[in-house]
């Protein structure tokens, strides 16, 4: 097992370079005129354009730009964004709130998916099962673009249960509403997958044995059946955490949370290569770590799966 983890860590380094190059290439393909993008609609004087092009090697090829970026990165200097701010500080500013927001959303979604998923698997075809199905599908079908502002308007402004917006170091309570909204984007899939997996396991012979051992239904479900049906849910949780971090763009916008999502969007809009790659590098690391944890959880959950 230890050798497996070491091998996975080595792979991470390769993947890290792969990911940064892919994103750099995408940003390069997306680059038209970063200097103008920065100035928005104001005209850009020739001298300003030349100076910035020079400083950020904007006129050079993809490979040389990537080389500049990587040589700086290896010396620990994440470089400067085109708007002149240290990318390191940008990361420090936006990651904490994003980690908190996405973790809260994930815990809420996983808890709901687990609880309702198991319950609707037991009561397949019941009113609860179909009710939960319809509710989660409605959440899924309502684009986040509609859900976030409506949630803010109803719970934030009209009922006043939550503050309408949250700042970078907002309190746990202030982040609750955005976390709930974010949770809706992943809860539907997690719940359905759990429901299917539990339903499938309820048919297994060991459940009959467990009943024959005189165990209470609660124990049969929550000890014996659950552990066998967690693998699909765990897989999704691994993927969803990263998706929540980079995909929270709309929710962060509506609730004015300066997180990774909105910084990425800003970077992409102003064609700011170094900034976007800086963020994506950290994101890819999160995905890599999460996927390693998920793969280890496979082995923990199902002894038949072994890694040499």
């Amino acid at each position: 097992m230890f050798r497996y983890i070491v091998r996975r860590l080595l792979q991470m380094i390769l993947t890290f370079f792969g990911a940064t190059f892919v994103v750099f290439a995408l940003m390069f393909a997306n680059q038209d005129d970063p200097v103008q993008a920065l100035a928005g609609e104001k005209p850009v004087s020739a001298s300003l354009r030349e100076a910035l092009t020079e400083r950020y090697h904007l006129d050079e090829g993809l490979l040389s730009q990537y080389w500049y970026y990587m040589s700086n990165l290896l010396t620990g200097d994440l470089g400067e964004s085109i708007s002149g701010r240290e990318i390191g500080t940008l990361l420090e500013d936006s990651w904490p709130v994003t980690v908190r927001l996405s973790l809260m959303a994930l815990v809420i979604a996983a808890a709901l998916a687990l609880g309702a998923g198991v319950w609707s698997a037991i009561r397949r075809g019941s009113v609860f099962d179909n009710g939960i199905l319809a509710f989660t599908l409605l959440l899924l079908a309502l684009p986040i673009v509609v859900l976030a502002p409506v949630a803010q308007w109803i719970f934030g402004m009209e009922l006043g249960w939550f503050p309408a917006t949250a700042s970078r170091n907002a309190s746990f309570y202030a982040l609750l509403l955005p976390a709930l909204v974010l949770a809706t984007t992943v809860v539907a899939t997690q719940l359905r997958v759990t429901r299917t997996s539990v339903a499938e396991n309820l048919r297994a012979d060991y459940v009959r044995t467990a009943r024959a051992k005189g165990l209470a239904p609660r124990r049969v479900i929550w000890v014996h059946v659950l552990r066998n049906s967690l693998i699909p849910l765990v897989t999704l949780i691994g993927v969803d955490l990263g998706v929540l971090m980079s995909g929270a763009l709309v929710t962060e916008g509506v609730f004015n949370i300066p997180g990774v999502g909105s910084k990425l969007a800003q970077g992409i809009r102003t064609e700011d290569g170094p900034m976007v790659v800086g963020f994506v590098s950290v994101l890819v690391i999160v995905f890599l770590v999460m996927n390693l944890v998920v793969d280890l959880l496979y082995a923990a959950l199902d002894p038949r799966i072994r890694y040499e």
Binding site: S47, E50, P149, P163, T165, F172, A299
Partner: protein
């Protein structure tokens, strides 16, 4: 391996993550609660160094930290503020600026002429790549600081500037300095009102011509407020009253500039009274603003001018009559009231009403909505079967472009589509390559309140924003003569003649003038927003 109980595993994981989520609760105190201070909403400024800051958010913050040389009275004429006296020699080339005595920077340094000279030189010096650099292009010696690349994108690099001091700037004594322009310009006094011309203390420079690291996060200015803590990016900038400020003392003790990524989020806080002033209420919230804010929802003039440019380099748009027909097919009043709910007014001339010399309806008949005449004229002159209006998607223009297209379709019976370009830069690039992207949506905000600041950049042959390839020698000479004219009144007469040529040629379709549409909370009163969409910090008052 992980113990027998999956439940213990899950519980531990959930606990850890909630702990992490909860721990960063930091200062969630409500910024508005503290006494006689106000919270004003802005978007994240790109830069705060005066010579590098050209967007409206940074201008607002700088306006609180610095004291402008000049400002404008009700008739939009320039009036001295930090300057004692600004005089100009005959020929409108040599300007002498005398400062009021006794002013100090927030760190105690006295304000001297040298501060202005160092700041302006820093701004103009090309390697510093300052966003506001082009404001100094009229001062003699600017060219030495900005040698141009001889062959454009070619291999040759531009030469290094030989000096970082402009010859046109000369210190007379501690409180007076002289500015010599490369060409006479009667209204230079209006130009130096802009925030780019603020002074910088010696403390700003770590060595000659090099800004100290972190200065931008902890600005030291000569204005009524000074920084309290440093600039917390994407969160807030807090300023408090500067005790021994010699100028006009504002009524509030401090301002928290709260940074919003999205205007709708700011509006939500405004309605919730978490935010005291929002200078631009987003169009999407206009429908509910009167109901939500009542009489705390107000409007005031600003310099925004929206128009559609014709790609005159394309054959189908060469004929002025075709351009006039399209202009007559658009009902400006209906769009202004139905789409913008009165937050914009119909534009019937080529410059903004805020500049002196503006004439009501200088465009005349082509700007009147007359569908039947428009269709006749259009068909007589063989207008194209399909009209495209291109706009950059990240500016929120989709709704009014679609509405305009629907009107054109109804009036001229031709197909009309709103074409989205992901970025403004892509649109510009296609225009420079004379590609057929149809009509182009454009807008302009003035740098200083002069007709020239509309005529030259938008319609001048090598105007910075003249993307439609329209040029008229007669127009250019009239504008130049206006600039050189002895008195501002003479300049205006020349500029108005130039505008008449525009009415004849119709290179663009004037659509709308913008307005400041702003709102404030129940905690404040006397809220005024000026021409540059800046809150007047001196009149602003909190209710007890």
């Amino acid at each position: 391996m992980l113990g027998k109980r999956p439940w213990r595993m899950a519980a531990i994981a959930a606990a850890i993550s909630l702990l992490v989520a909860g721990c960063g609760s930091g200062d969630s105190e409500d910024p508005t609660a503290a006494g006689n201070t106000v919270v004003i909403g802005i978007s994240e400024p790109q830069h705060l160094l005066p010579t590098n800051a050209t967007d409206s958010s940074s201008a607002q913050v700088l306006n609180s930290l610095f004291y402008p040389l000049v400002t404008f009275d009700a008739e939009k004429n320039p009036v001295e503020v930090a300057a004692e006296k600004i005089s100009v020699a005959k020929g409108n080339r040599v300007w002498t600026i005398k400062l009021k005595p006794g002013f100090t920077f927030h760190n105690g340094e006295p304000v001297t002429a040298q501060n202005y000279i160092d700041a302006w030189n820093y701004g103009a010096y090309k390697p510093n790549a300052q966003g506001g650099g082009y404001f100094f292009d009229r001062i003699a010696g600017y060219a030495d600081l900005n040698p141009l690349d001889p062959d454009g994108d070619g291999p040759e690099k531009a030469a290094e500037p030989t000096t970082n001091k402009m010859s046109g700037l000369k210190k007379i004594d501690d409180l007076t300095f002289q500015v010599t322009l490369s060409a006479p310009f009667a209204s230079f006094k209006s130009v130096i009102a802009y925030s780019v011309f603020f002074p910088l203390p010696k403390a700003a420079f770590s060595s000659d011509g090099v800004i100290a690291k972190g200065f931008e996060e902890n600005l030291i200015g000569n204005g009524p407020f000074k920084m309290k803590g440093s600039w917390v990016h994407d969160d807030k900038i807090v300023v408090e009253k500067y005790a021994d400020f010699k100028g006009v003392v504002p009524k509030v003790d401090g301002v928290t500039w709260k940074i919003y990524g999205d205007q709708m989020a700011a509006y939500a806080d405004l309605v919730d009274n978490n935010l005291d002033v929002q200078t631009t209420i987003p169009t999407d919230a206009l429908a509910n603003a009167p109901a939500d804010l009542g009489e705390r929802f107000q409007k005031s003039e600003n310099s925004v001018f929206e128009f559609i440019g014709f790609p005159t380099f394309l054959p189908q748009y060469k004929n002025p009559n075709v351009r006039k027909a399209i202009s007559m097919a658009i009902n400006r009043e209906e769009i202004a009231s139905q789409i913008f709910l009165g937050s914009r007014t119909a534009a019937k001339s080529f410059v903004s009403p805020v500049v002196s010399g503006y004439r009501e309806n200088s465009c005349g008949e082509p700007c009147e909505y007359n569908p039947t005449k428009a269709r006749e004229l259009y068909q007589q002159n063989g207008g194209p079967k399909e009209i495209k209006i291109t706009y950059n998607v990240d500016g929120g223009h989709k709704s009014w472009v679609d509405a305009t297209c629907n009107q054109i379709r109804a009036s001229l019976q031709v197909n009309c589509i709103g074409e989205q370009e992901p970025k403004f830069a892509v649109m510009q690039d296609k225009l420079q390559k004379h590609q057929d992207i149809g009509l182009i949506r454009l807008g302009w905000i003035m740098d200083y309140p002069l007709m020239e600041n509309y005529l030259n950049p938008l319609y001048g042959t090598n105007g910075g924003s003249n993307y439609y390839g329209w040029s008229s020698a007669a127009f250019d000479t009239l504008v130049k003569e206006g600039s050189k004219a002895a008195t501002p009144e003479a300049s205006i007469k020349k500029w108005q003649e130039a505008e008449d040529i525009l009415a004849e040629e119709m290179p663009v379709i004037p659509l709308r003038y913008g307005q400041n549409v702003y709102g404030y909370s129940e905690r404040v009163t006397n809220v005024e927003v000026d021409l540059f969409s800046r809150v007047n910090l001196y009149e602003l008052e909190t209710l007890a």
